[in-house]
């Protein structure tokens, strides 16, 4: 089952298109949010700037208005005191300073701000009136006649009246204009912000739709993977089962034929039939492994627990693999230590398969010497199945890898040593399902020993 999980995990790897999609989704979301926030801030700043300018201009004009009112008041006070002037000169001087002030103010205000064209007429009027007042003050300086002064002051009064109303007009006009401008700016800002919010929402929705689309694509792909994996397992289980039937028939016929059940054979016929038998036995081992692997992946492998005779286990392996060992001039030996009970509990068929795999593996990787099977009791609660060979051995670095499925010591070895590469992984998986643990000791060029320790469950 763990292999299946690994398989699924590997299949979760994203294709470039999916990665691009996810990146696009993230970029779209981020850019959507950034655009709306940035624009909102920028427009806010613009609005603030506009308001500040408006306030400054207004303040300037209001100042001007106050200046004119002050001057006017002073002129009126002078006029009231004309009949009885104690120190008219001093008073005139004050008015002169006021008027000078006023003139400077008007000049600076009208020059600093670019008034809209509609206001320029009023501005010119104010400038004209200021110039007249300036001249009047100058003429007032020259004349010492109180009558003339009175006349001049009177006309100065009316002139200031005009200036005051002109400035008031400008103030009103500016106030209206600026109110309009603020409203306009606000409206345009709102419209622009609204657009941005809409754009942001659309972008976000779009990116979420994209994300959803990708999620669904991935989910359906995962389902497809799981389904195809299940179908593959089912197919493998069916095919393996269908394969076993004819293989068993071939194996049976060739064994009977080699035994002479169908009449005496010539030497050549006998060795040929034995070759058929060896190849069929190997093929059967591979198909059994595939079937078991498929069943394990499907979670359908069920183990039986029934009494079996350890000697039968060894005998069946001997009879199946003796010919294979003898064709390589290898000695296939076995022993059961005397302390082993005559009957053990377990799944005989699976144990046969484990032993078949270990022994055929040992024969495969041994060129000369022997393969030895041993059943013993390492302690009171366990029994051990051991296969020792005098073969090529396995280096310490590779010892942990040999139990991985489809692995062989050297991948180039697959050609030399035939096999599906499933044998040892099946041994490990089956043993562990039975509560056993597999270990390996090996020295390169000297040989290997595979040991499986099972819990001892003797028949009661």
């Amino acid at each position: 089952m763990t292999d299946k999980k690994k398989l699924l995990k590997n299949r979760w790897m994203l294709t470039p298109v999916e990665i691009a999609g996810i990146v696009l989704f993230i970029l779209l979301t981020i850019s959507g949010v950034v655009v709306s926030v940035q624009d909102a801030l920028q427009l806010r700043r613009a609005l603030d700037l506009n308001l500040t300018q408006t306030i400054i201009l207004n303040q300037g004009i209001v100042n001007l208005q106050r200046e004119v009112q002050l001057t006017h008041k002073e002129v009126l006070r002078l006029l009231g005191n004309l009949d009885n002037p104690p120190k008219p000169i001093t008073r005139f001087d004050f008015v002169k300073i006021q008027v000078n002030n006023l003139v400077t103010q008007v000049e600076s205000q009208t020059r600093t701000y670019a008034f809209p064209e509609t206001d320029l007429a009023i501005v010119h009027e104010i400038e004209g009136e200021t110039a007249v007042i300036d001249r009047m003050i100058a003429s007032l300086d020259e004349s010492n006649s109180p009558t003339l002064q009175a006349v001049t002051l009177k006309s100065l009064d009316s002139q200031l009246d005009g200036l005051e109303s002109s400035i008031k007009q400008l103030v009103d006009r500016q106030a209206t204009l600026q109110r309009e401008e603020i409203i306009q700016t606000r409206d345009s800002l709102t419209a622009s912000q609204r657009t941005d919010v809409i754009v942001g929402i659309v972008v976000t929705i779009l990116s979420f739709a994209l994300a959803n689309l990708f999620r669904r694509t991935l989910t359906s792909r995962l389902q497809q993977v799981v389904e195809s994996d299940r179908l593959k397992g089912q197919l493998l289980a069916n095919v393996s089962h269908e394969l076993r039937t004819p293989i068993n028939a071939i194996q049976g016929y060739s064994q009977l034929m080699s035994e002479g059940a169908y009449g005496d054979l010539s030497d050549k016929q006998k060795t040929t039939v034995q070759r058929v038998l060896i190849n069929t036995t190997q093929l059967k081992g591979m198909v059994d492994n595939l079937l078991d692997r498929a069943q394990m992946e499907q979670g359908k492998l069920t183990l039986r627990k029934e009494p079996f005779v350890p000697a039968d286990l060894i005998e069946s392996t001997h009879s199946a693999l003796n010919i294979l060992a003898s064709t390589k001039n290898l000695e296939l030996t076995s022993e059961i230590t005397p302390d082993v009970p005559t009957a053990l509990n377990g799944d005989m068929l699976r144990l046969q398969q484990i032993l078949f795999n270990l022994v055929s593996n040992a024969i495969k990787f041994t060129e000369k010497g022997s393969v030895h099977i041993r059943i013993s009791l390492p302690d009171k609660e366990h029994w051990a199945l051991q296969v020792t060979d005098t073969g090529i051995g396995i280096t310490p670095e590779k010892q942990t890898q040999v139990f991985a499925p489809f692995w062989q010591v050297d991948s180039s070895a697959t050609r030399h040593y035939r096999g599906s590469g499933l044998g040892l992984s099946i041994v490990k998986q089956l043993s562990e399902l039975m509560g056993g643990s597999v270990s390996l000791t090996s020295q390169p060029e000297k040989g290997s020993t595979f040991t499986i320790i099972f819990p001892l469950e003797t028949q009661k």
Binding site: Q255, L256, S316, S319, A320
Partner: protein, 125 residues
């Protein structure tokens, strides 16, 4: 000396031939029956020493034949060997047969079995 008779009830041609050849090697005479109806009919005939019975058969299934064999008095001393690939079914028939073999059944297994049955048969006769 008479040879014991092995009645092989098996619809798979190859399996029945292999069973037959293996048992013949071990000094049995063999008779092959390939469907359930013929098997029921055969119960009227002389009793064999052993019956090798497959459970999936055409017309009448193995479990029914097993019951019929038990009900046939002349077959009372016949050793019944059931061969099936279905482990669950094998478990459910525990106690109803002298031996239950899980397919695939190898030739060596058959030889071992035949030897033991032959000894038993010789003791009984």
């Amino acid at each position: 000396m008479n040879k014991p008779l092995a009645l092989i009830i098996e619809d798979d041609y190859d399996l029945s031939e292999i069973f037959s050849a293996a048992l013949q090697r071990d000094e049995f005479e063999t008779e092959i029956i390939r469907d359930g109806r013929d098997a029921i009919e055969r119960l009227k005939g002389p009793a064999p020493a052993i019956v090798v019975l497959d459970l999936h058969l055409p017309y009448v299934d193995g479990a029914t034949i097993l019951k019929q064999i038990h009900a046939t008095e002349s077959f009372s001393s016949t050793a019944i060997i059931v061969a099936t690939a279905d482990a669950q079914q094998a478990d459910s028939l525990q106690g109803q047969a002298d031996l239950i073999l899980l397919k695939p059944v190898g030739v060596n297994q058959l030889h071992e079995l035949a030897k033991r049955l032959l000894i038993r048969w010789r003791q009984n006769t």
